[in-house]
C-alpha cells in the first residue's frame, strides 16, 4: 500500500496569526472611518483630561466665591461661574473623571454579569436558560432610566449606587447578546470535538466559546458606555445620583436650570460636555461595530 504522506513545501511562507490578522483588519477598517476616529480621539482626549485635568486646573471646584457669582464666560472664567461663584470650567474638568468612572465601571460590571448569565444560559439551555432569560426579560421590560431610578430610590442617592443601578440595567442587554452568540458557537463542530476529548464545561466556555463571541460584546460595551453616561447624568439631574456640591455634570445641569433665562451658560456648558462625551462614544461604538462585524449594522 502506498505510504500516505503529504508533500510539503520546505519554503517557509509568511507566518500569519489569524488573531493578529483579524485585529489588523479591524484597525484598518476603523482608521478609514473618520467619524469613528474622531470619536476615538475625543475619547482619548477625555481620558487624558480626566486623569491630568485636576492637576492642571488651578481653582478648587468646590470653593465658592461669592464676589464672582453668576459671571458670564470671560478670560478669567472660561465658562463663567455658577450661583456660588465656582468656576464652571474647573468643575467640568473635575466632572470628567466622575463621568468616565461611572460610565466605564458600570458597563464593565454589567458586562461581566451579563456575559456570565448569557453564556450559562446559552450553553446549558433548558430550565436554567428559561429562569435566567425570563428574569432578564423582566428587567428589560422596564424603561432603562425608570429601572435605574427605582434601584437608586431603594439604595439611596450616591455615585456608587448609580453605578450599581446602571450595572443592573446593563446586564440584560449583554446577557441577551451573549446568549444568542453562545447558542450559535456551541453548535460548532470543533466545540463538539473538544467535548468529545473530555474537556470540562469551564474550558469549553472560556477557551473556545468566549473568544468567539468577543466582537458583539466589545461593540455593545462601547455603545453602552454612552447610555450609561446619559443615564448617570439623568439620575444626578433628578437629584438621585451625585449630590451637590460634587461637580457632576447632571447635577450641575440641574443647578443651572434655575438660572436658565438670565444665565444660560451655567446649564449650557455641562450639557454640552454630556453631549460631547455621549456623541464620542456613540460614534466610536458605531465604527467599532462596522469594523468588527458588518452584519450587526442595522
Amino acid at each position: 500500500m502506498a505510504e500516505t504522506t503529504v508533500n510539503v513545501s520546505t519554503e517557509e511562507k509568511k507566518r500569519v496569526n489569524p488573531q493578529m490578522e483579524n485585529f489588523k483588519n479591524v484597525w484598518r477598517k476603523l482608521r478609514q472611518n473618520y467619524l469613528a476616529m474622531a470619536g476615538g480621539i475625543l475619547i482619548v482626549l477625555f481620558m487624558i483630561i480626566a486623569i491630568i485635568g485636576p492637576w492642571i486646573t488651578t481653582g478648587d471646584p468646590l470653593a465658592p466665591n461669592v464676589a464672582d457669582r453668576l459671571e458670564g464666560p470671560s478670560s478669567q472664567y472660561w465658562f463663567g461661574t455658577d450661583h456660588h461663584g465656582r468656576d464652571i470650567f474647573t468643575r467640568i474638568i473635575h466632572g470628567m473623571s466622575i463621568t468616565l468612572y461611572i460610565g466605564f465601571l458600570s458597563v464593565f460590571v454589567g458586562m461581566i454579569f451579563g456575559v456570565v448569565f448569557g453564556i450559562v444560559s446559552g450553553y446549558y439551555g433548558g430550565r436554567i436558560d428559561a429562569v435566567i432569560m425570563r428574569t432578564m426579560d423582566v428587567l428589560l421590560a422596564f424603561p432603562g432610566i425608570l429601572l435605574a431610578l427605582g434601584i437608586v430610590a431603594v439604595l439611596g442617592g450616591s455615585i456608587n449606587n448609580v453605578i450599581i443601578a446602571i450595572s443592573i440595567f446593563s446586564i440584560p442587554v449583554f446577557a441577551r447578546i451573549v446568549r444568542g452568540s453562545t447558542l450559535s458557537v456551541r453548535k460548532l463542530e470543533y466545540v463538539d470535538a473538544v467535548r468529545a476529548l473530555g474537556a470540562s464545561d469551564f474550558r469549553i466556555i472560556f477557551r473556545h466559546i468566549l473568544p468567539n463571541i468577543m466582537s458583539p460584546i466589545i461593540v455593545q460595551a462601547t455603545l453602552r458606555i454612552a447610555t450609561a453616561v446619559l443615564t448617570a447624568s439623568g439620575l444626578s439631574f433628578l437629584g438621585l445620583g451625585a449630590q451637590p456640591p460634587t461637580p457632576e455634570w447632571g447635577a450641575m445641569l440641574a443647578a443651572g436650570r434655575n438660572y436658565m433665562w438670565e444665565h444660560p451658560h451655567i446649564a449650557l456648558f455641562p450639557g454640552l460636555a454630556i453631549v460631547l462625551v455621549v456623541l464620542a462614544f456613540n460614534l466610536f461604538g458605531d465604527g467599532v461595530r462596522d469594523a468588527l462585524d458588518p452584519k450587526l449594522k442595522s
Binding site: M1, R15, L188, Y190, D192, A193, R195, L197
Partner: protein, 337 residues
C-alpha cells in the same frame, strides 16, 4: 473469538418537538429508534444509510454528545450512559471521534501545537515536557511535517486539516474511534489517502472503528462488517462480503443497486424506489420500509420485523429485518414496481 468492545442495547434518540404557547412537547423526532448492535475489538463496523436515517445520531449518542433518550451503551464493560459527567469525561480518552467537515471541526484560532497539546492536557496523557515530542511524532504519523507545528488551520488544505483531526483523536491513545462521515467532505483522491491512513493506523494501534458513511464505495473499501440503517432502525447487518454479495433486505438491495458499475456494456437493473423517506416524526407502522418496499404486504404494515438469520440462506452473523427473506429469495414473491 474476539471480544465485543462496544455493545449498544436498545438505543433510542428522540428529539422533542416543542410547540404551542407553553412550549410543551408535542411530538418527537425519532432519529434513532431502538437499535442494538455490537462492535468487535479491532474491526471496522460501518453504518450506512441515506441522509436522515440516524447514522450520525447513533455516533453522537454513543459519545453522549447528545444525551440519548434510552438504552445502554456498553463500552469495555461499562455502561457509558450510566457514568457521571466526570467519569464520562475521563472515559472519553478511549473513545474518540473524527468529524465530517475538516473546516468546522478544528478551532481556527489554535495552532496544530495548541490543538494537540490541549487534547493531551485535557486527558493528562504524558508529562508536559514530553508532549512536544509526541506532537511531532503524531504529526509524522498522520503525514504532516514537523515544521508545520505552529501553523494555523487556514494554512492547511482540507485533507491536511482532516489529518489534524485524526492526530487530535489519536493524541489521547483511544481504543476506538467513531468516524462520522470522515472522508465525505474530501476530494476523491484525498479520500483514498485518508482511508489508507485510517487503515494503517488501525493496524499499528489496534484501533476499532465505527465508520459512519453514506458512500458505499468507501464502506466497501474499509469495513469488516456493515450495518444498514433506514429511518432510525437497523434493516440489515452482516460481514462486508455477505452484505455486498448476498443482500437480503429489499432496502439493502436498492442501496446496492445504486452503486455505479464502471462497465458501460453491462446491463444493470437499478431499483428506483417510489416516494421519499417518510418523516421520522411519524414513522410508518410495522416495517418502516413498507411505504416504499416493492414487496410490502399487510403484514408489513402491521408487524415490525425482527432482525433475524436464516441458516440456509445467510452466513452466520448476517441478519436482516424482513418478514419475507425466504419468499423473496425463492422468487415466490414478485416485486410490485
Amino acid at each position: 473469538m474476539t471480544t465485543d468492545i462496544l455493545k449498544v442495547r436498545n438505543l433510542k434518540q428522540y428529539f422533542p418537538i416543542k410547540g404551542g404557547i407553553l412550549g410543551r412537547k408535542v411530538n418527537d423526532v425519532k432519529a434513532v429508534d431502538d437499535i442494538s448492535f455490537e462492535v468487535k475489538e479491532g474491526e471496522t463496523l460501518s453504518i450506512v444509510g441515506e441522509s436522515g436515517c440516524g447514522k450520525s445520531t447513533t455516533g453522537r449518542a454513543i459519545l453522549r454528545l447528545d444525551e440519548p433518550t434510552e438504552g445502554e451503551v456498553d463500552f469495555q464493560g461499562q455502561d457509558l450512559l450510566a457514568l457521571s459527567k466526570k467519569d464520562m469525561r475521563r472515559k472519553r480518552k478511549d473513545l474518540q471521534i473524527i468529524f465530517q467537515d475538516p473546516y468546522a471541526s478544528i478551532n481556527p484560532r489554535q495552532t496544530v501545537r495548541q490543538i494537540l497539546s490541549e487534547a493531551m492536557e485535557i486527558q493528562d496523557v504524558l508529562p508536559k515536557d514530553k508532549r512536544e515530542a509526541r506532537i511531532k511524532e503524531l504529526m509524522k504519523t498522520v503525514g504532516l511535517g514537523e515544521h508545520q507545528i505552529d501553523r494555523f488551520p487556514h494554512e492547511f488544505s482540507g485533507g491536511q486539516r482532516q489529518r489534524i483531526g485524526i492526530a487530535r483523536a489519536l493524541s489521547v491513545d483511544p481504543k476506538m474511534i467513531i468516524c462520522d462521515e470522515s472522508v465525505s467532505a474530501l476530494d476523491v483522491s484525498i479520500q483514498a489517502q485518508v482511508l489508507n491512513l485510517l487503515k494503517k493506523l488501525q493496524r499499528d494501534y489496534n484501533l476499532t472503528y465505527l465508520f459512519i458513511s453514506h458512500d458505499l464505495g468507501v464502506v466497501r473499501h474499509i469495513s469488516d462488517r456493515v450495518l444498514v440503517m433506514y429511518l432510525g432502525k437497523i434493516v440489515e447487518i452482516a460481514d462486508k462480503k455477505s452484505l455486498f454479495d448476498n443482500p437480503k433486505h429489499p432496502y439493502t438491495k436498492t442501496l446496492l443497486s445504486a452503486i455505479p458499475v464502471p462497465d458501460p456494456t453491462k446491463k444493470k437493473e437499478q431499483i428506483v424506489l417510489k416516494g421519499d423517506v417518510p418523516s421520522p416524526i411519524d414513522p410508518p407502522t410495522g416495517c418502516r420500509f413498507h411505504t416504499r418496499c416493492p414487496f410490502a404486504t399487510d403484514k408489513c404494515v402491521e408487524e415490525d420485523p425482527e432482525l433475524r438469520n436464516n441458516d440456509s440462506l445467510m452466513q452466520d452473523g448476517h441478519r436482516a429485518a424482513c418478514h419475507y427473506i425466504e419468499e423473496i429469495e425463492s422468487g415466490e414473491m414478485k416485486p410490485n414496481y
